[in-house]
């Protein structure tokens, strides 16, 4: 029995993962589809695919350029060839830093960073709510963007209680805030922040990170040292390319137009140090193999696992890899060449839904086929080899032999199909089934499903912006009284389709923003664009920038939205026409 099968069987027997996952993921898939069709231009996926394909095809060149840009920005640029090197590098960069606030990073997960740093005596806190919870559980994340998706609220409450955090009931709001408080307290005294990166921009050296909770905002501003760790494929050519990726990332991942915070980190603040650790760990080998190189386009949105019926039935932990679902089944055996994940490409019915939803057009199910062929050639069980040889001999020859081969197979299986946990096997249906006319009579009538139609975006960008900004949780007003604890800033631009505001330079200073009670952002009507992809000119240069889309939030517990995690509890947007505002 393959390791995947053994784990999946145990998961299904312990209480089917689908009971928790199926309703959540079905809704997420439908919402993502709506989000992509309303909040993004019709060619959003094609643009994202082109931006990522260009990056993969010019990887070495872009990394060279990135290195120079980092030097200009005063960001340390480091390459790690292996997981061990990555850990050693980060350890060395940390120096005597002891308390470390870590946010979500798939590459950190891949190289086992948190564990390795703890072994070296560092105090590492997972500051993302979902990561914090799975860290206490100790079985690892079950989803790349929603690590605690396999846990229901009751189990999370138990886990928190075990860690000394008693929460009176299992309300997701209270549970999320309990973790928030632990994290906020940790940030009171912290030596270094470690983050991932969703993209790094070659021509400006900016590091792009998306997040909802505000823990990244704290992690990159509070400590004197910030280290971003990322896979070498995450580089993109320029701001346009980064925007093309962002435009599909949150819709595909969480059905949001954009995440609450989208950071474009430039030069470190005064007295701060920033480093970028670029990890290879097998990616060069993938890049050199035509069959699989396009998997490096992946933006780790998780849409393929959201849509995957095998993932839904088996749960993410069954994959036994930090990368699960279809992307995990492709990339795990390519990153770990020791055969430990060789069974994962078989953990798919090849239905192709993953390839259909992937926003950067990775033909995942075709790669699974190639991986299976590779495994059959180089590994593969002897029994299976012999079986296929005999099958081929029967079907390539006269048909009489094929029939007898099928008959033999039927006899050997005792006329039954394997695989039902309750009865062990299933009867093969009769060859000429009797038909009962009564079966055509419906049991009851059903209401037709209501048509799902995402609200179309109003034509006028300013009204569209007002509408969408309130949908994402901002308070939209024409005027705002000054209040204590306000941080008042002016937006460089705003985006109608996502209800976002872009802050640049001093306005983006995270320290001041995170200390405020409210953020009040003044938006000039003339600066509103329709889609994120049009923010290019507003992002010119290489300075610090931040896109805000609603206030901080989390959906790490059963995908229930809880607003107001770290930082200001409200985002107020004042819309006006130009100079009258100043």
């Amino acid at each position: 029995m393959s390791p995947f099968r053994a784990r999946a069987r145990a998961e299904i027997e312990a209480g089917p993962p689908a009971a928790t996952l199926s309703p959540i993921l079905r809704k997420l898939v439908a919402d993502s589809r709506d989000q992509l069709s309303t909040a993004s231009p019709s060619d959003a996926r094609a643009r994202a695919q082109a931006a990522r394909a260009y990056a993969v095809d010019h990887l070495d060149e872009l990394q060279e350029q990135l290195k120079e840009s980092c030097a200009r920005q005063g960001i340390g640029y480091h390459r790690a060839a292996t997981a061990e090197e990555a850990v050693a590098l980060v350890t060395q960069l940390l120096g005597d830093a002891r308390r470390i606030a870590k946010s979500k990073s798939m590459v950190a997960e891949e190289v086992g960073l948190t564990h390795a740093l703890r072994v070296r005596g560092k105090e590492v806190l997972e500051t993302d709510i979902g990561e914090y919870i799975v860290d206490i559980e100790g079985r690892g994340p079950s989803h790349i963007t929603a690590p605690a998706l396999h846990l229901n609220r009751a189990r999370i409450r138990e886990l928190l209680a075990g860690a000394g955090e008693d929460v009176p009931d299992d309300d997701p709001v209270r549970l999320s805030r309990a973790v928030r408080d632990v994290v906020a307290e940790f940030f009171g005294e912290v030596d270094a922040g470690i983050t991932g990166a969703n993209a790094v921009i070659a021509n400006s050296g900016r590091i792009v990170i998306v997040e909802n909770e505000g823990n990244v905002s704290l992690g990159v501003s509070r400590p004197r040292l910030h280290i971003a760790i990322t896979g070498m494929e995450k580089v993109v050519a320029d701001e346009e390319a980064a925007l093309a990726v962002l435009q599909v990332l949150a819709p595909s991942a969480t059905a949001q137009p954009l995440t609450a915070y989208t950071h474009f980190l430039g030069a470190p603040d005064e007295g701060q140090e920033r480093h970028l650790v670029v990890v290879d760990n097998g990616r060069s080998e993938i890049l050199a193999d035509e069959r699989y190189r396009d998997v490096l386009r992946c933006i780790r949105c998780g849409a393929c696992m959201n849509a995957c019926p095998v993932y839904t039935a088996a749960g993410g932990l069954s994959y036994g890899s930090p990368y699960m679902g279809p992307i995990g089944a492709v990339v795990s055996p390519l990153l770990w060449r020791d055969g430990r994940h060789a069974d994962l490409p078989s953990a798919s019915s090849l239905c192709g839904r993953c390839s259909e939803v992937c926003p950067v057009g990775i033909p995942l199910h075709r790669m699974l086929l190639d991986l299976r062929a590779g495994e059959a050639e180089n590994g593969g069980s002897r029994v299976e080899k012999v079986a296929w040889k005999s099958w081929a001999a029967a079907f390539a020859g006269r048909q009489g032999r094929a029939a007898s081969w099928l008959a033999r197979l039927g006899l050997r299986a005792g006329g039954r199909l394997p695989g039902l946990p309750i009865s062990g096997s299933r009867p093969i249906p009769a060859a000429n089934p009797p038909r009962d006319p009564a079966m055509l009579v419906p049991l009851d009538s059903i209401e037709p499903e209501p048509e799902r139609a995402g609200e179309p975006l109003p034509e006028d960008v300013v009204s569209a912006f007002r509408e969408r900004a309130s949908v994402v949780g901002a308070v939209v007003v024409d005027e705002a009284e000054r209040e204590d604890g306000d941080r008042r800033v002016r937006a460089t631009a705003a985006v109608a389709s996502t209800g976002s505001v872009l802050l640049a330079g001093e306005a983006a200073a995270r320290g001041a923003l995170m200390d405020a009670r409210r953020i009040v952002v003044e938006v000039d009507e003339a600066s509103v664009v329709r889609f994120p992809q049009e923010l290019g000119p507003a992002l010119a240069g290489d300075g610090d920038a931040l896109i805000l889309t609603g206030a901080s939030r989390t959906a790490d517990i059963e995908k229930q939205i809880v607003r107001g995690i770290h930082g200001p509890q409200a985002l107020v947007v004042v819309v006006g026409s130009g100079t009258a505002q100043a």
Binding site: I12, A314, S349, G374, A392, F395, G419, P421, L440
Partner: protein, 239 residues
């Protein structure tokens, strides 16, 4: 009157040979002259398992059997997609190109019927209610959904109830059901719940392989269900 070959795939010949007969009768009612090719295999089981040279030699036998036919109708979206999208890739260079041209002569049964010039004149009538299941390859690689549903909707008296999650896989996946039976069955059960929620007990699909998997699971879980191929439904609606 068109001359067509009807390719009855291996598992249909073995599991439910009558379905070949249903398909043949529908084609004849459309006025075609039908010659049956019974029982070869498109090579998909081995191909999907990674055994490409075995798939190739089996696929070669099918192409040989199909030689000389202008149109080869396949009552399976899964086999049709294998022949059209994957088989040619097993041969390199000009040989692959010529096999690709040959593969264009294969057409899935529902798509063939839906596009037939005489289809509108078929007297289709069957009172009752059914739901429709797509095979993933038929849906995603061949785009068969609307053609098949259109045919069902053409049947007078038939209440066609679409599944709520029509684009989800039933969990068969060929050797997947043998290698990962627990997950495969969990997927079938999700599909069967969707079927039950439609208030119907007859499930129609272009692919017998999905149907056999779902029917076996329904029986083992005591869900009352008949599974009909699209060919059977059309044939019964013609009677």
């Amino acid at each position: 009157m068109a001359k067509v070959a009807l390719f009855v795939p291996c598992y249909m010949a073995a599991l439910r040979p009558d379905d070949g007969g249903h398909a043949r009768r529908v084609l004849e009612r459309l006025g075609d002259e039908v010659q049956t090719i019974l029982g070869p295999c498109c090579g998909q089981p081995a191909f999907n398992s990674g055994y490409r040279s075995e798939a190739k030699s089996v696929g070669r036998a099918l192409l040989r059997a199909a030689r000389g036919h202008e149109t080869i109708v396949v009552p399976s979206g899964s086999c049709a997609s294998m022949v059209k999208h994957y088989l040619p890739g097993l041969w390199a260079g000009p040989r692959g190109a010529s096999i690709e041209r040959m593969s264009e002569r294969f057409v899935e049964f529902g798509a063939y019927v839906a596009a037939h010039p005489n289809v509108a004149a078929l007297p289709l009538r069957l009172p009752g209610a059914v739901t429709y299941h797509d095979s993933c390859h038929g849906r995603r690689e061949l785009g068969l959904t609307e053609g098949a549903v259109g045919l069902l909707e053409q049947v007078e008296g038939l209440d066609v109830r679409r599944l709520a999650y029509e684009d989800e896989c039933c969990g068969f996946g060929g050797t997947f059901t043998v290698k990962e039976p627990e997950v495969s069955v969990a997927m079938a059960r999700a599909k069967l719940e969707d079927v039950a929620s439609r208030g119907v007990r007859v499930l129609v699909s272009g692919d017998l392989s999905c149907l056999a998997h779902l029917e076996a699971t329904a029986r083992a879980t005591d869900q009352s269900l008949e599974t009909w191929t699209l060919a059977e439904l059309l044939d019964r609606a013609l009677a």
